[in-house]
């Protein structure tokens, strides 16, 4: 390989190479790339494809299938709000409406200041203390719009 690669592409190549011996390495690789870079930039696809002996189309197909993978940067915090039945029974629908209004975004959107990305999820396994949410990795029970907005906007260390 003689062509100059971007740092992101190099990082993705390293990650893919480190996983190449696994049975079915693509999901672990995509998780690791997203963890390292915050998202999966377009320029990382070709080096991953080379290292894993896959086509670009296969990798694109997998990235686009799974809700967790993002090809654009998200907000500094990820707010996942449960929209599933158990949380709906505790008012998740109204909570989702108010939260979207407060943050000024729709589902999957990132606030204008880049602070928060709001994603709908279907169950966090916190079904006996809903409505539930996950702010990055912090679980929240009996969530209110005020509390969620405060947690999501807390400045990250």
């Amino acid at each position: 390989m003689t062509r100059e690669e971007t740092p992101n592409a190099l990082r993705a190549r390293e990650i893919a190479a480190a996983h190449a011996g696994m049975d079915g390495p693509l999901l672990p690789v995509l998780h690791a790339v997203q963890h390292a870079l915050g998202h999966i930039p377009r320029e990382t696809l070709a080096p991953m494809a080379e290292e894993l002996d896959l086509s670009l189309a296969e990798i694109h197909g997998v990235i686009s299938f799974y809700p967790d993978f993002r090809t654009e940067p998200g907000g500094r915090r990820m707010l996942k709000l449960c929209r599933a039945e158990a949380c709906q029974a505790m008012g998740a629908e109204a909570l989702g409406d108010e939260l979207r209004a407060r943050l000024g975004v729709d589902w999957h959107g990132t606030t204008a200041d880049g602070a928060v990305t709001l994603e709908p999820v279907y169950c966090l396994g916190l079904c006996a203390c809903g409505p539930a949410a996950l702010v990055d990795e912090t679980p929240v029970a009996r969530a209110t719009p005020e509390r969620l907005e405060r947690l999501a906007r807390e400045v990250t260390g």
Binding site: D23, G24, P25, L26, L27, P28, L30, H31, L52, L54, E58, G61, V62, F65, Y66, P67, D68, F69, K80, A84, E85, A86, C87, Q88, A89, M90, V121, Y122, C123, L124, G125, L126, C127, A128, C129, G130, A132, L134, E137, T138, P139, V140, A141, R142
Partner: protein, 504 residues
């Protein structure tokens, strides 16, 4: 003075403030010069009492909860005796006292990463017995126990294992389905966070039974704490020689797709592909992960195996009713006063569980319906609450027990909207492989909108569409979405009246 306290670090307890309480306990102990040993456990499953603090006195655990940071000073003042939040002996709390805890015997009791505590509380006895048995004997024991798949399909676990044992192949796999996506279910999560060695032991026994040297746990990404705890438990197990010699387990993480809970979609996902459903046959038992013979079992199915081997099939099958043998971890969620995990023999009625054990709704309003078995499960009206909770019994009442999650709705629930949501969920999560699911879910939403707008032709179209989805879909996502839709329509027709009329 030294003091030992137990406080959960289960996600639900964390979501309700357990870490803040832990920090306050540590601060208060330090200020008083008390040497505090704070053991973080899993959850007992009494979610309304979380964070639930426990202290052992004369061999009996006494509880305090639900605790807030402001309760902590007073607890120390009163030397952990009298306190407004005192609950007395934890195992005498009726919600716990009425249970039969076989699979969840240790959950909430021990530090989930303390292998010595696991062994001291009965762990590893099943595996030790299995090591002295021939593979076919282990399979026969599991078959005799009557254990059926706890993920929802209810297929006899022993028969599945027998198929893999008899399959030809140099490499076989044990795949644990921890993609617990059904709303209202959290038993897999609680077990992985509260007693991960139990799942590891169950998988190791499965490996011995079918001749598999490799195990894989596919856990959903929505469970970061389960992933962390289970990953740490794998490290502890390798360090102690429990894994690594002849059998090892790797942890894989999903990526937010519900349909990957379907076993063939899960296998595709593990292989690094889109999580699309495969046609069966071939069965995963013959051609599963990487085309090799594979056992795919739910977390609770595998975690029930150690107690079956330790106590014997006869003990396990002495619980339950009909063809639903053993215990089932019922998960009661949604609008419920005393929600959580309740492990009991199959056969308790919905009414006894919801009204007696769980005390009705959290809102205090009348119960309108429960949805059993996740987003693909039927809505049961109160008139069907005498249905016993078992595989065939729920089926006979027009539903399914699934992974045994039960979501309670009060009388403010709008069943027309819930039916529409079922179709919307199917549309969002469809893998796209088969037409009845991919197209049907979208047409289903539109048709329910037409019903709600008063179109007299729409109900017949919906009935036809549901039949097509049920009979023509490749997997349970499209095939079972008619359950919530049609049960809502059948039992609550008034919620499908034209919205304008209802307003008048």
């Amino acid at each position: 003075m030294s003091l030992t306290l137990y406080l959960p670090k289960d996600s639900a307890a964390l979501a309700l403030g357990a870490d803040e309480v832990a920090a306050a306990l540590t601060r208060e102990a330090s200020a008083r010069g008390v040497a505090l040993r704070l053991i973080r456990t899993g959850s007992r499953g009494m979610v309304w009492l979380e964070p639930l603090l426990e202290i052992e006195r004369d061999g009996v655990r006494h509880g305090f909860g639900p605790l807030e940071v402001s309760d902590v000073t007073n607890l120390f003042e009163n030397r952990f005796r009298h306190h407004p939040k005192a609950l007395g002996p934890v195992e005498a709390i009726p919600f716990l006292a009425r249970q039969t805890r076989l699979t969840f015997a240790r959950c909430g009791v021990i530090d989930p990463l303390d292998l010595d505590a696991y062994r001291a509380h009965g762990g590893l006895r099943g595996l030790e017995r299995a090591r002295d048995m021939a593979p076919a004997e282990i399979v026969a024991e599991v078959t005799a126990s009557g254990l059926r798949g706890r993920g929802g399909a209810g297929f006899p676990t022993g028969i599945k294992w027998k198929t893999v044992l008899e399959a030809e192949g140099p490499q076989k796999h044990i795949v644990c389905n921890a993609d617990e996506g059904d709303s209202g279910t959290f038993a897999d999560r609680m077990l992985m966070e509260g007693d991960p060695f139990c799942l590891i032991e169950g998988m190791a026994i499965a490996g011995l039974a079918v001749g598999a040297s490799r195990g894989h746990v596919y856990c959903r990404s929505e469970y970061p704490h389960a992933i962390r705890t289970f990953g740490a438990a794998l490290d502890v197990s390798r360090g102690a020689g429990l894994l690594g010699r002849g059998f090892d387990i790797e942890l894989r993480v999903g990526a937010g797709s519900y349909v990957c809970g379907e076993e063939t979609a899960l296998l595709n996902s593990m292989e690094g592909k889109r999580g699309t459903v495969r046609a069966k046959p071939p069965l995963p038992a013959h051609k599963g992960f990487m085309g090799r013979p594979t056992v795919v079992n739910n977390v609770i199915s595998l975690a029930s195996v150690p107690v079956i081997l330790a106590e014997g099939a006869e003990v396990y099958k002495s619980f339950g009713l009909g063809r639903s043998l053993g215990t089932v971890p019922l998960q009661i969620a949604g609008n419920v006063k005393h929600g959580g995990l309740f492990e009991a023999a199959f056969g308790m009625t919905i009414r006894e569980l919801i009204e007696d054990v769980c005390g009705g709704t959290a809102s205090g309003r009348p119960v309108k319906a429960v949805q059993i078995g996740g987003p693909l499960g039927a809505y049961f009206p109160v008139s069907l609450f005498d249905t016993p909770l078992g595989y065939e019994e729920c089926d006979a009442a027009g539903g399914l027990i699934g992974h045994a999650g039960i979501v309670v709705f009060d009388d403010s629930a709008d069943m027309g909207r819930m039916a529409r949501f079922a179709m919307e969920f199917c549309a969002v999560e469809s893998c796209g492989t088969c037409t009845p699911c991919r197209i049907g879910a979208v047409r289903g939403m539109e048709t329910i909108d037409r019903i709600l707008a008063g179109d007299p032709a729409a109900p017949a179209i919906l009935a036809d569409l549901c039949e097509t989805m049920r009979d023509g879909s490749l997997c349970a996502l499209g095939g079972f979405t008619p359950y919530p839709v049609e049960s809502a329509l059948r039992h609550f027709p008034e919620d499908f009246m034209a919205r304008q009329e209802a307003a008048e």
